[in-house]
């Protein structure tokens, strides 16, 4: 990045629209190209990528993995253990545990990905704006963030969800998923805000930003073309790992009875339903737990691989 040509390209890119900027990004020394070069040599990246594709397929086309109906219940088979007919056995209602685990992937991934997306959008936007405009906006955003971070995560979610969707209530499928996503994002955005804010504060006084401003670029252009790309790498790393932790948070809340609830099919609910039957049928609890852990593991591994590739300190 330090060659004079690259810098000149950047300055040129400031007064001419997108075409030149695109060229710089595509040039061989770009951050993303570097990252990819490192990533493709890492075994952990390929393992997590294969697992990720498997889970995404499972979420999009569950019928590829099982031909059974997850809602079909035979009470006579309640809590029957694993057999050749049903590999993971049957749950309390006599439903196929494997089919329900496969269909559960969709809920968990939708909640994890959408909540992360919302977190990144809210956090990134407020962080960049707070750092760029400073003064009272920065003060307000920072204080509100501090307040929300002052609530321990599980506790905060419990308080909010316990009030707007208490265990006894019976909201519809989409409502409860939306509520859980909003609550996760509401409590999570301050961390992204801090990452984006510090990245922008560092970049704000760099020469290339001054140069862009001197060339007459407005705040919007400076933010989106010059400041935002700088905070993208740390936010991306955080976001990947966050998908995993949100999936695990969703399951925790569902376990407490205040997150998702039937008729939604989710790993957390499957686990919650069978906690009292550990002696007689642990399979109904352990198999969904295994799916859940593997899915979280996938995102954590992917996040670590991306972080190692993006963080020059660890090279």
């Amino acid at each position: 990045m330090s060659e004079p040509t690259a810098t000149q390209d950047l300055i040129k890119g400031a007064d001419e629209p997108a075409v030149n900027v695109g060229e710089v990004q595509d040039s061989r020394r770009s951050l993303w190209r570097d990252t990819w070069d490192i990533l493709k040599r890492r075994k952990i990246f390929w393992i997590s990528l294969v697992l990720l594709i498997m889970f995404l397929l499972m979420a999009a086309f569950p019928s590829l993995f099982t031909h059974k109906d997850p809602e079909y219940a035979t009470l006579a088979k309640s809590m029957e253990g694993p057999s050749s007919e049903a590999w993971f056995g049957y749950d309390l209602q006599g439903r196929d545990v494997y089919a329900r685990a496969v269909y559960g992937a969709r809920t968990s991934i939708i909640v994890g990905v959408l909540a992360t997306l919302a977190t990144v959008l809210i956090g990134g936007l407020t962080g960049v704006l707070a750092a760029y405009f400073g003064r009272w906006l920065d003060a307000i955003v920072s204080r509100v963030g501090e307040m929300l971070l002052g609530l321990p995560y599980v506790l905060g979610a419990i308080i909010i969800l316990g009030t707007i969707a208490p265990a006894q209530s019976n909201p519809s499928k989409t409502t409860i998923m939306a509520v859980v996503i909003i609550v996760l994002a509401l409590l999570g955005w301050p961390i992204v805000m801090r990452i984006a804010r510090s990245a922008v504060i560092q970049a704000k006084h760099q020469d290339y930003v001054q140069a862009a401003r001197a060339l007459g670029a407005g705040p919007l252009r400076i933010i989106f073309k010059h400041l935002l790309p700088n905070s993208l790498a740390p936010i991306l790393v955080y976001a990947t790992i966050t998908v995993g932790s949100y999936i695990s948070a969703e399951a925790t809340l569902s376990l407490l009875g205040i997150g998702l609830r039937p008729p939604v099919i989710s790993w957390g609910i499957a686990i919650a339903d069978h906690t009292s039957y550990m002696r007689t049928g642990a399979h109904a609890l352990l198999f969904p737990a295994a799916f859940l852990s593997l899915c979280v593991l996938t995102f954590v591994m992917l996040g670590e691989a991306v972080r190692d590739a993006l963080d020059p300190k660890l090279r």
């Binding site: 002052g150 609530l151 599980v154 506790l155 419990i158 399951a251 407490l256 954590v300 591994m301």
Partner: protein
């Protein structure tokens, strides 16, 4: 230092007021009847709801309610729950158990986490390093309740080494497995943090000087390297003590421990907000105060850090 402490303390005030107000507002003011489901299957009679609203001060404006709440909190008067049992006495019964559990968990984190981190950091890329990296990866992706239920099932139901649930007194020997479960996630973080810190400091000039002076390996690692590497680890452990108290909600629920977390778990399931609000407030206070103490301690441990 003194000025910094005072400034931090003053900064804490709006955060405390804000969070406690959010808790109060969320629990009591949002749409939804706090007394729903208190009368079995049928809706509660109006007379009951009016009486309850009056008893818990819900008929007053929100700011008056909040003011009363703060006044009661400062004078230590936590009131009674929906069953007319004193909240303060329930808390007094539950605190010692949770503190015991949290202290044991921190001890596990410190001993196992730092041990594993030092082992892997000193021989980067070696066998121990690989084992630690992979096992921490797995620990990081296991949600706490999965670890809890699996250990309860394996050790309690299958092998029978422990009782699956903890008795009323919650003896230390019974709390070992729950404390390990509570510590599991942070243990992995501690190990990784220690490893990074050791790896970074191994390249530092003072370590090279110590080696060049001809000091034994033991002395270099034990005195020079560890002292400097453990500062961020200690602050992490400190911050997590506060966080752990709310993590205990899940662990205590699984093992049926009658601590703060268990109290909260039952209060949520029974929708008894008179317990949820004071317990949540106390947990937040503990969390914020430990964070403040850790920040101040940082300057004492690492004299290079100047607050101004």
């Amino acid at each position: 230092m003194g000025r910094y402490a005072i400034r931090r303390l003053l900064q804490l005030v709006p955060v405390v007021l804000g969070t406690t107000f959010i808790i109060n507002y969320m629990v009591w003011q949002l749409p939804g009847d706090p007394f729903a489901g208190r009368c079995g299957q049928r809706p509660c009679p109006d007379a009951y709801v009016t009486a309850m609203r009056e008893q818990f001060g819900l008929d007053q404006p929100i700011l008056v309610q909040y003011w009363n709440f703060l006044k009661n909190l400062l004078t230590g008067n936590l009131g009674v729950d929906f069953n007319n049992v004193s909240v303060a006495s329930q808390l007094a019964d539950a605190w010692p158990i949770t503190i015991r559990l949290a202290l044991m968990a921190v001890a596990f984190e410190a001993i196992i986490g730092i041990g594993a981190g030092v082992l892997s950091g000193l021989k980067r890329g070696g066998f121990a390093d690989n084992v630690v990296t992979i096992s921490t990866l797995f620990l990081l992706s296991l949600p706490i309740f999965v670890t809890g239920y699996v250990l309860q099932w394996v050790l309690g139901v299958q092998v029978g080494v422990i009782e699956p649930t903890v008795s009323e007194e919650a003896r230390v020997s019974e709390l070992v497995v729950p404390a390990l479960v509570l510590a599991s996630l942070n243990m992995a973080f501690t190990a990784r943090l220690t490893r990074t810190s050791i790896v970074e400091n191994l390249r530092a000039d003072y370590v090279r000087t110590a080696v060049a002076k001809g000091l034994t390996n033991r002395r270099v690692v034990g005195i020079h390297l560890l002292r400097n590497s453990l500062i961020p680890v200690l602050t992490f452990l400190g911050t997590e003590v506060g966080n752990m108290m709310s993590g205990a909600i899940i662990t205590e629920g699984i093992f049926n421990i009658h601590g703060i977390g268990g109290l909260m778990w039952r209060a949520i399931n029974g929708q008894d907000y008179t317990i949820v609000v004071p317990v949540a407030t106390l947990l937040v206070l503990v969390y914020l105060i430990t964070n403040l103490l850790v920040d101040l301690l940082y300057g004492v441990l690492d004299p290079r850090i100047r607050y101004e």
